[in-house]
Assembly symmetry: C2
Homo-oligomer: 254 residues x 2
C-alpha cells in the first residue's frame, strides 16, 4: 500500500453534473418556480466558478430532462416538465425493449378503463364540452382516417384529463403514444371502422354525461376490443412494436 492518502476522493461527480444538480435542486424544492429565469450563461459561470463549456453541458442535461427551457428569446427559465415530452422518451424505451402490441393493448385497456371511470365520476362541464367538441369534429371527418385517428387520440387524452387524475394522465401517455398511431391503419383498413369509432365515442360521452360508470366501462371495452379485432386483421398482436412503425409516433414528437 502506498503512502496513506489522508482525506481523498470526496468530490465524485463531474462539474457539469454538479451544476445540473444544483440548479435542479433549486427548482425541485421550489426556490425557483416554473417560469422564473435561471440567469444567463455568464451569470452561471460567475456563480458556480466553472467554465462556460461546463455550464453549458449542465444546461443540456436539465434541458433534456425537461426542467428548464429557453424562452422565445433563448433565455433560460425553469419550467414544468411536460408529460408528453417525457412520455416520448418512455415510448422510445418501450420500442427499444421490443414490447409487443399485446402488452400495449392489455395495459391500455386497464388504463383507459380507469380513465373513463374517473371521468364518469369527476368530469366537469368544461371537460364534457371539450369532449363534445372533439366528437363533433370527429363526426365531420369520419371518412378521413388520418384526421380521425388524430381526433381519437385527442378524445382519449381529454377523457384522461376529465378524470382529474394527473398521475393517471401521465401513466397512460407512453402506451397511448404507441397505441393510437395504429388507429389510422385500422380505420383505413376496416370498412365501417370510422363509423364504429365515432359511435363508441358517442356512447362514452353519453355515459360520462349520465354519470353511468357501467356504461362507460362497457363502451371502453368494446371500443378497444374493436381496435384489437381491427389490428389483428392487419398484423399480429405478438409482433414487437417495430422500428419502422416507430417513425410514426416519433415524427410526431417534433
Amino acid at each position: 500500500m502506498p503512502t496513506t492518502p489522508l482525506f481523498r476522493r470526496i468530490d465524485v461527480a463531474p462539474a457539469y453534473q454538479k451544476v445540473a444538480d444544483a440548479i435542479e435542486r433549486e427548482i425541485i424544492n421550489g426556490r425557483i418556480k416554473p417560469g422564473e429565469p435561471i440567469g444567463t450563461e455568464q451569470q452561471l459561470v460567475a456563480q458556480f466558478g466553472v467554465n462556460r463549456s461546463t455550464v453549458r453541458e449542465g444546461i443540456r442535461v436539465l434541458e433534456e430532462g425537461g426542467l428548464i427551457r429557453r424562452d422565445s428569446s433563448r433565455r433560460l427559465q425553469a419550467c414544468l416538465p411536460r408529460y408528453n415530452k417525457l412520455a416520448t422518451r418512455l415510448s422510445r424505451a418501450l420500442i427499444l425493449h421490443e414490447v409487443t402490441f399485446r402488452e400495449l393493448f392489455e395495459t391500455s385497456m386497464t388504463l383507459e378503463v380507469a380513465s373513463v371511470e374517473g371521468a364518469v365520476e369527476r368530469a366537469t362541464e368544461e371537460n364534457i364540452a371539450e369532449l363534445a367538441g372533439n366528437l363533433e369534429r370527429s363526426a365531420a371527418v369520419v371518412g378521413n382516417p388520418a384526421a380521425l385517428a388524430e381526433l381519437d387520440a385527442e378524445f382519449h387524452v381529454l377523457m384522461a384529463k376529465a378524470s382529474q387524475n394527473r398521475v393517471l394522465q401521465l401513466a397512460r401517455e407512453p402506451a397511448a403514444q404507441l397505441f393510437f398511431p395504429t388507429t389510422e391503419m385500422i380505420v383505413g383498413g376496416v370498412p365501417e371502422g370510422g363509423t364504429r369509432l365515432v359511435e363508441a365515442h358517442h356512447h362514452l360521452l353519453d355515459a360520462i354525461k349520465r354519470r353511468d360508470k357501467e356504461a362507460g366501462v362497457l363502451w371502453t371495452r368494446r371500443h378497444l376490443q374493436d381496435w384489437r379485432r381491427g389490428f389483428e386483421k392487419i398484423a399480429s398482436l405478438d409482433r414487437s412494436v417495430e422500428h419502422t412503425y416507430m417513425e410514426h409516433a416519433y415524427a410526431a414528437r417534433q
Copy 2:
C-alpha cells in the same frame, strides 16, 4: 422587406442537437445495438465535422435521455434505457405538478390490480421463487420498518415483472416510486402494520401459486386499502406530495 433572401432558413436545429439526433437515429433503428460502442469523442468530432464542445453537448443530451452511457472505462456505448431511471424523471414531474396522494393511490390501485392479474395468469416458477424469497426476507424483518418498506416495494416490482407485461411494468413505476416510500412511515406508525403487510403478501403469493385471480385482486385491494387507512392516520390524502417528502424518493436515485 429587405433584399429577397433566396433560399434561407433551412438549418434550424443547433449543431449539438443534430449530433444527438444523428446518434439517436442510429440507435433507435437498430444500426447501433445496445452495448455497442459509439466511438471516442475525437472520432465523433472527425465524423460530424464539428467541435468537441459541440459533440459533448450532444452526448449529454443522449446520456440524460438514457440512450447512451459510459462504461467502466468511460467509453461511450449505446444502452437500453432503464425504466427506473426514466421513472425517476417522471416522479420528479409528478412532484412538480403537485399531485396528491389521492391521485397516486387511485392510480396505483388500478395498476397493482392489473399487475397481480397478469401475475396470476402468467407468473413463471422463477417469478414465484423470487416472490417467495422476498416474502421470506420480509418475514424476517417484520419489526424493522425501513427494511420492510424496501422489501415491500421490491415485492410489487417482482409482481409486475411476473405479469410479463413490460408496458405495465413501466407504467406503474413512476407512481410506485412516489407511493411506496410512505410505507415506512405507515408501518412504523401503525402497530401490527408490519404483520398485516407480510400477511397480505403471503396471501398474494398464494393466490398467484393457485392461479386464483379473484383472491389475488381481493388481497391487492385489501393491501392497498390498508396502506390508505394507515396513511390517513398520519396525513391527508388530498395534500400534495410535498417537496420535503420528495427527498426520500429522491435520495434513492443516487
